[in-house]
């Protein structure tokens, strides 16, 4: 490729300039600030366009702003060039409008035949030069200062040479990149061997939160368990209270039963005494009135006495009714007891108590039956027949004695049969009331019992076990069961209190300091799990990058480095008059050369500063050769490359360039007359001079 002509309408300091270029060496000469660098940017801009957007890292504005014409001319230009195959083209570019057109030799517009980029429009240079802009800048275009190495020349050069050998570009370091990726993996993610890196910290925190979540969930489960326990305890308490109430009523019934027994006993005794009294009184009365016939047995009993007998019979009927209730109660008690036998640990007390109640009622009936069969019937017997006053006195004495016994029995003053009958009436009333109380008690107990009893029963077993108990045992067993029940109630109350305390403390925790604790744990866990997944992806990407970079680096060294070694050795030999004939990168990618002074293989870093500079230029030119190998022969655009060279080295380098200019256009920019003179000396008239 050859650049034929540049036509600048307006570009930075350059205005309305036409530059004609020729094959071979073009020496563009101009003083400082004459626009040499601007012209290089113009060439680059015409080929690739100018970048807008942000400024450079050095703080310069982007090229699209930096090269706006100072003069107010149109920010545009023309570049004409010919490719190696002889085809010529004309690029017209308007930098302001960011438009470009390209024409062929017959001025046919062919802009649309190029692939287009969204930002940069038709990719002309990429197609015709075969180079991206980055490659163009890094190879064929060597700007001012780029060949000037800083104070650490050796190290810098070594680094650049190594980079080229490793990556193909001097400013791209395989080693730095590889280190950066591995450091990033270690610092921002973590590895299998790390303990304190982000992924380790995230994983540790996740474990901690998972444990806390499990603990919180367990605490909730326990809280739920305590709730259920409390519910059960409350139900148990209610049941126990019902059982206690039943038992207390049973105990009360035992008391009533005892009272009734005492009253009945008194009534029976008094009834007998009344018979005696009535008989005695009748005898005394008969004797006193002179009537001789003694009343037959029983005939002397008053109507009131007969009424007591009828009342006693009625009481027996009432107690038969009670019997039916007692049987019901007994059967139900049997059921409870049977359940207790099957579940001794849970309902023994209830069954026992209920059964006792049943037995009590059964016993009450039995006792009543006995009383009706004995205590209320007057035994047969004949009073003596007095026929003298003495006898009357004896009868009166016996009557008095009977009254005394009756008074002692009943606790009231009984002076005769009338008093005794009245007392009997009182006792009968009392017995009636006790009967009524027993009836009520049995009904209440039965009702309670029916409510409590819901299980199947083994009545026979219950009867066999409990019927043999007498009243005293029954009362003792009842008291014992009640004591046991109260102990159980106290234990249940304690459990309720304990559950309530636990729940209240749990509720306080849930609503206070621990409010939303589990949710917050889960939220943080979710975030951390997502972060962990993201870190793992990042780690995978960094590791992949490092692996692929190593793989690519190995390939580059295998293919590119040998060609580079060969190329740079050739360039250096020709530029230095065979002083440096062999420059290579070893297995460790360290660049070394055979030092002319010693003939020994020497690291490049140990060579002189001048050798560094020359070697660097050689490297860049070799790179340009390699990059364009097999493609278009691109012009070299070299800006002040001899700045650090002495005359001899400049001469040698110019000679090399002159040799190469046979097959390649070279644009050599300089501000020094000495270089112009040396060009004349080396090339004679075979170069094209352009004054800027």
């Amino acid at each position: 490729m050859k650049i034929e002509r540049l036509e600048i309408k307006g570009f930075g300091a350059l205005s309305r300039r036409m530059v004609q270029l020729k094959p071979g060496i073009n020496l563009l000469y101009g003083a400082n600030e004459s626009g040499k660098s601007t012209l290089q940017w113009f060439i680059q801009g015409m080929l690739y366009g100018l970048k807008g957007g942000r400024g450079s890292k050095e703080g310069l504005p982007p090229p699209a702003r930096r090269f706006k014409p100072w003069s107010g001319d149109a920010f545009s230009g023309v570049l004409e060039y010919t490719l190696d195959d002889g085809r010529s083209f004309r690029i017209e570019r308007d930098f302001s409008a960011n438009t470009v057109e390209i024409y062929d030799a017959g001025f046919q517009r062919i802009t649309d035949t190029f692939e287009r980029s969204k930002e940069r429009g038709p990719l002309i240079a990429e197609k015709h030069l075969g180079l991206t802009e980055a490659c163009f800048e890094k190879t064929v275009l060597i700007r001012q200062m780029e060949t000037r190495l800083d104070g650490e020349g050796g190290a810098e050069l070594l680094s650049r040479l190594t980079n080229v050998a490793q990556t193909g570009f001097e400013d791209i370091s395989f080693q730095k990149a590889d280190r950066a990726l591995r450091e990033a993996l270690r610092n921002y993610v973590g590895t299998d061997r790390s303990y304190t890196r982000p992924i380790d910290r995230v994983s540790a925190r996740i474990r901690e939160l998972e444990a806390a979540a499990a603990e919180a969930a367990e605490s909730r489960r326990m809280q739920a368990g305590t709730e259920s326990r409390l519910q059960r305890a409350r139900e148990q308490k209610a049941l126990l209270e019902r059982k206690a109430a039943f038992l207390e009523r049973t105990e009360h019934l035992i008391g009533v039963r005892r009272q009734a027994e005492e009253v009945a006993s008194k009534e029976a005794a008094l009834q007998e005494m009344l018979s005696v009294m009535t008989d005695l009184e009748a005898r005394v009365q008969a004797a006193s009135s002179g009537m001789g016939a003694a009343p037959s047995y029983g005939g002397g009993v008053s109507r009131r006495g007969q009424m007591h007998r009828r009342q006693a019979a009625a009481a027996r009927r009432r107690r038969r009714v009670l019997f039916a209730a007692a049987v019901g109660l007994l059967l139900a008690a049997a059921g409870m007891a049977a359940f207790a036998l099957m579940n001794p640990s849970t309902h023994f007390t209830a069954a026992g108590v209920l059964a006792l109640g049943g037995v009590l009622l059964f016993a009450l009936y039995a006792l009543s039956g006995r009383r009706s069969g004995s205590a209320w019937d007057m035994p047969a017997g004949s009073p003596a027949s007095p026929d003298t006053v003495q006898e009357i006195l004896v009868w009166n004495e016996r009557l008095k004695e009977a009254c005394g016994k009756a008074s002692a029995l009943c606790g009231v003053q009984i002076g005769g049969s009338r008093d005794a009958e009245e007392t009997l009436e009182t006792l009968s009333d009392e017995l009636g009331k006790l009967d009524a109380r027993m009836k009520q008690g049995v009904q209440a107990v039965t009702a309670e019992f029916n409510e409590v009893s819901t299980e199947v029963f083994h009545a026979d077993k219950l009867r066999g076990t409990l019927l043999s108990m007498d009243m005293k045992n029954l009362q003792t067993a009842c008291a014992r069961e009640l004591t046991k029940l109260r102990d159980e109630l106290a234990e249940t109350a304690l459990e309720i209190k304990e559950c309530e305390t636990l729940l209240s403390s749990g509720d306080r925790e849930e609503e206070g300091t621990g409010a939303d604790r589990l949710q917050m744990i889960m939220e943080e866990l979710e975030v951390l799990r997502s972060e962990k997944a993201s870190l793992e992806d990042t780690g995978e990407a960094l590791k992949l990058a490092a692996d692929v970079l190593t793989e690519a680096g190995t390939e580059i060294r295998r293919t590119f480095a040998p060609a580079l070694n060969e190329g740079i050795s050739d360039v250096m030999a020709r530029m230095t008059g065979l002083r440096y004939r062999d420059v290579r990168a070893d297995e460790a990618l360290s660049i070394k050369a055979i030092a002319p002074e010693t003939g020994m293989v020497t690291p490049v870093g140990w060579l002189s500063g001048g050798a560094h500079d020359q070697m660097y230029l050689g490297l860049r030119l070799t790179m340009a050769d390699l990059i364009s190998a097999g493609g278009e022969t691109l012009p070299w655009i070299l800006d002040e490359i001899f700045a650090q060279y002495d005359d001899d080295r400049t001469r040698q380098t110019l000679k090399y360039l002159y040799e190469r200019s046979n097959s390649r256009q070279i644009l050599l920019f300089t501000c020094k007359k000495r270089e112009l003179e040396l060009a004349v000396e080396v090339c004679g008239g075979n170069f094209h001079r352009v004054e800027l």
């Binding site: 370091s173 990149a177 939160l209 739920a224 621990g514 917050m520 990058a545 970079l549 580059i556």
Partner: protein, 393 residues
Amino acid sequence: MTAQSEVKFLHCADIHLDMPFSSLGADAGRSVLRRRELKEGFRRIIDLAEAEQVDLLLVCGDLFEYEYVKKSTLQFVRDQLDRIPHTEVLIIPGNHDPYTPESWYRRFSWPAHVHILAGENRTFYREDPGVCVYAAESGTIPENAGMAADCIRILMLHGTLDMNFSKKAYHPVSSEALERLGTDYVALGHFHSRLQGAGSSGRIFNPGSPEPLGFDEEGDHGVFVGTLRKDGQGIVRPEVRFVRVNRRSYHTLRVSVSGCGTDEQAAAKVMESLRPDEGKENFYQFVLRGTLAEGFRLNPGHVADVLGSRVHYAKVTDETVPGYNLDEIAREPGLRGLFARKLLERAERAAGEKEKQIALQALYYGLEALETGKVDLETGKVELKDRGQVEGR
């Protein structure tokens, strides 16, 4: 001729009281507030039930999160339900508040007008106004369910409707199966998006969550208020309307931030995409896309911070790509070009999207390393939130 009757109802579902909000990141304050807002949402539903004087309040599952619900929240629910003693409240459990032996539905003391339709008690019947409700777990109603034919018949179900029924689907059912049951109204729950008048007879309804719960629940959210009116011919006609009750809404906006070189520029571009009156009350997820300025890496957290002053909650997802011209780089000779080509090829033949993204990410990391000699991931660095020790809290 049959007796005319009508029943007025409010149908809601998926309130998820006391749920954790992982979609709000690690912002504990925000999620605590959101949980409070869910309760407020429930209060508004009761307000509506009270104002509309509905006969039935149908709660179709996931009223609360069993794993997280607090007793005070249940008490709050009870207090609210106590406000509508003349409304029969019918609740069915969902997958987040299942009817387990430990369920609050069994353990908690619910008011008398609240009926938990689950386990053995799945049918609700009221002679006046002649309504039967059955809580199903599939597309069938057992013959002995007690669904009287001459009633207004409602089916309640917390389940998955017409989806690809994987094994994981909760109570899957098809609309055809529901239609076959011939009920007058099908009250669904489970899916958080609204479904109105589905099925061939248009009697299948799912109100969705009354307060949206995440970025996948955009739009208006609320409940259905309806009347089922049975005419003299025994034909029941549903009249149902949607009532919006949500306080906040979720939005996902995709914004191009191409060319941006700073987080502030990116945030400014995002703000341009919002209307002036938009944002204050709502949750936003901004998905940033496009090619950034060369050398700039976005810090999503920083952008979210800037946007946080403009909207109630901002979440920023970074889908931007660094400003590399990959085509150009891939054409380069040397290491960089080869590296790029290799990773682009990998991305090209990746088995899945994730593998592709990792290959591209590797490419960007590698290019950054080659270009600058470092990989700066400070923006993506994980910083554990200082939320204190878990123990003792």
